[in-house]
Symmetry: D2
Subunit: 333 residues, 4 copies
């Protein structure tokens, strides 16, 4: 069976997913919906698919699944529209910036018996998958402490920050999901500390650029997340999991594996500087996993509930910063 | 000038300092005080010094400086006795487990015009000194985030925990000092999360074995500390400092630099497993620095106030755990 | 302009090049020639090209360039046939196992004014390109010593060894080309030592599995090459260039970047085990470079002469082993 | 039993051994012989030993063992004098620059039933010992290929080169010994290539600064040695042993374990720059091993024959360079 796809939105991430769908065996790109004609045409020309309206795609009998890559404030409505239309739905995170709206959307998905996968691409990174596999294989014993270092090379433009919901909802949210995945338990309490250290403009937007978070589960397992918007040496993405029998960790990806030694010492390349080059394989694996779920009618590896939980942790982190105390997830969710 | 030394206490750390004093040019070990005859004799035989009582040492005209390696509950009294006796004093941390007692002791030192150095050996580790030198040379710009990973290979015996004041006062206290040193600013607020994950006996003693701490200064710089009593792969001591222009970090010391590659992959040695082998150079450098201060009448690089501040941070961390909130250092100090 | 391609031969390397041609912007795969119907059909189905005979491709007006992936003993004839037919030719190494036949073929290419690129894929590996760029940028000063470690994970089947011309002509030949490229001078003398250590069958075929070679240029620059047919830990491909001002080196590629630390030490993944996964990017870059040359009518970065010189070094190495002496390249070429 | 030592020669290496003797439990430094009064006095003052003439030491009943650190051309005579005098002898390599003189000296030692250890310090380096232990434990199976990278930070002064016998006899000789030790078999043939690339003065002295050597045993095991007198990035000392089941390797020692990451990439310290700081532990272990042999009357781990064989390999390498052919060790020895 070939899963026939439409993509909603031909922006940066839409183009990534179009390439992924095209490359996955068992998937075919049938249609693209995009208000900008040039962007739509570029996808059509590259992959030979049709340009259709969103309504037409919802009504198309030759479309099995959609990938939602439109602006965040349209996600929940589109999810509801397409599960009702009987399409399998892959939606970029977040489902919505409002916890209540996300919860309502998930209820609608359930009511429709829909298949929804929320895009947490990092779970599909080959190195992080190897970390998880090592944990699941018992290589480090019982998980005790997770350390996530997650640093962007540079801050996004101010208007992105305004729309994104801020650092916890657009950046730390990935790390919240990774922490839940690696801890293997739900988080009970959240403590976050936040500062503006790289650019005072960020403070005027009510956001932060430098944050540390401690997560704690009911059994006492803990995760720490350290984020900054500006790491001069590249896109720093490291994970470390301490267990009762050992530690498993994943290192960064540099631009190359070349070292120069001279009288000043040893010098090697900075890190890959962009999330798309760093997570190329993850995006491909993610869509392949979705295709397999649609083809088999199987549950998706990242669910609407995963989206809800990560957003709840972001909400709790914001409250923790405001009130300088540990916040229980049950206070917000 | 040769600085003539007496050492008070011939236990594990006393023997380390005796060797260090013996090895430092410009220092001579003159006397040892130790209630266990065999332990005292071992030092005497090894270094050719005399065995004397503490009172005799205080009265000795051939002793310029003492190194206090006795049990913690004697430290403050001995410091006071020896500064009054006109001796330069090096005291193992902590000065006392009570903040009030430490503060009183430091006032006595000041009143006597005494020279006191508190032993925070890690500041004298060659790698950590290189980290600090890089910061001071502006290599990473303005410091923003400090990450300290500090894990012991195994928990101390229960009776040590009972006497030590618990993990924050005996283990994290080193990391509190490192954080202050590397941040270059005083900490304003402390948040700590603590669990017992390695051995339930530790819970019955009212202590923890797995803790994470976030420290924040008034300007928003932050440090995170992650501790465990049990790292199966050895004594894990890493530091990472993110600044506006880059990051500087210090790696661990393994048992050797040998790697074996086979069909299962690449394999290298575990970390040095004991604080004395890991910090051999640090202990020697620490005593050398003290000798230089005594010889030159210069201020010591680690002071009684450093001891007080680190203990204050431990106190704040304990309150933070109890109250699940960020605690201002000014609440305890 | 789109460069229109035909591929001759749909074996393992033919499939690699078909995928590369398909992926390079500015190139299109028009035809495949392959005697095995199933193999030809697989390429046709995957890329939508036509199946044609070799003669038909030579006569095709819609084919600009061919990639020769047929057995070695057909290479020289096909090169001559296709340059006469006015096609740009990319040929897998070697052009032939006979130096005289290679030289005659290159004369025919010259006479026809043809464009010929010989496939030395390693020059297009991103890491090795970064090594070369560092040298060319003067980062290590004048090149003095090149060290090439090149080890296969396992020996090819005996019948491949019979046809390949042996280890120097099928394996070391890549390292000979790398050495010439990195030394930046022609080699004057060759010394080689050879043994059979992994499998006595190899000795019965008159070949070796473990060889070391020293190359020396007229100015005294040297390269050493160390080869084995069996490296249990994977496909070991390292390069190191010492210059008057420093050293530049390229490290291996492992299966992942994950490390597990436990009481036995630190453990990480073995190396990528197969030349196709190790050199995926190199194969793609190589074809892209060829496409650019064809489109611009520019000289190819790896030439027929490069193929001749590398084969000459292999010939000299064989004579060196036989006579236990340094052989001048001029003795064989 | 305490082994009572005299040291002959208070130059650079004499001081290293004096410190080592002083530090080894079970050894005592009794006397120093040295023609320069200031140098002798420095040793006397540091360790409290007596200054004696060589003749007086040979006649001393309170001296069990001597360490010969005098100029090379005195070694053989002194060894003979002291074994006849009944002293255990540790002699810095080489015993002599003449193979015949070395052989005669060894016969004299045997005739006297003397105990002689020749100083090949690298066998006592903790990392190289771990490599050897891994081999002996079967961790890499049967040894097949040894790769030794051995590069000095800078050339010695011209007059040293004049006296030392040249690069093969003063520098490569260490690597010849390591190769024999790691191969576990005697070398049958030697091929060497040599150039002058760093300083033309070296050519006027008849010596080389850049050499590569291939050693081959009768069973086909091989070792390659790559040497240069000038590695701008420090004292580069690496070993790699490939076996039938895997590879074991030892990495370099850098000045520290600190890395700085910035927009240009990752930067770490150069290598330790001096053989004495790089091999501090090796020198101490070497003397400790000698002390143990003297105390137990056991055979020494590095023997006069080891000195002879390494010098023979140097001689063969020189002939190989001169005649551009593989030289059998039996031709020179």
């Amino acid at each position: 069976m070939t899963v026939k796809f439409a993509i909603l939105g031909a922006g940066r991430i839409g183009r990534v997913h179009a390439a992924a769908v095209n490359a996955v065996p068992g998937a075919a790109l049938v249609a693209i919906a995009e208000p900008l004609p040039a962007a739509a045409e570029a996808i059509r020309a590259a992959y030979g698919c049709e340009i259709r309206s969103i309504a037409a795609i919802a009504a198309s009998t030759d479309v099995d699944a959609v990938v939602i890559c439109t602006p965040t404030d349209t996600h929940a409505d589109l999810i509801e529209q397409f599960v009702v239309a009987g399409k399998a739905v892959f939606c970029e995170k977040p489902v919505d910036l409002s916890l209540a709206r996300v919860a309502a959307c998930l209820r609608a998905v359930d009511a429709a018996g829909g298949l929804l996968m929320v895009g947490f691409n990092r779970r599909f990174d080959p190195d992080f998958m190897a970390v998880k596999a090592a944990i699941d294989a018992g290589r480090v014993g019982a998980v005790e402490m997770v350390t996530i270092t997650s640093r962007d090379p540079g801050a996004p433009p101010p208007d992105y920050i305004t729309r994104s919901g801020g650092i916890f909802r657009d950046m730390t949210i990935h790390d919240f999901d990774m922490a839940r995945w690696l801890l293997g338990e739900e988080v009970e309490t959240v403590f976050a500390a936040a500062s503006v250290l790289t650019d005072p403009v960020i403070a005027t937007l009510g956001d932060f650029d430098s944050v540390n978070v401690i997560l704690r589960t009911a059994t006492g397992k803990q995760a720490i997340i350290t984020n900054t918007r500006r790491a001069s040496y590249g896109y720093d993405q490291r994970i470390e999991v301490l267990g009762s029998l050992g530690m498993v960790s994943a290192e960064n990806q540099a631009e190359n594996r070349v070292t120069i030694a001279d009288r000043d010492g040893y010098h090697s390349a900075p890190l890959l500087n962009f999330f798309m080059s760093r997570y190329t394989a993850a995006y491909a694996n993610e869509i392949a996993a979705f295709v397999a779920c649609v083809a088999e009618g199987a549950p998706t590896p990242t669910t609407g509930r995963d989206g809800l939980m990560a957003l709840g942790l972001a909400e709790a982190a914001l409250r923790s910063v405001a009130e300088a105390r540990a916040v229980r997830l049950s206070e917000v969710l």
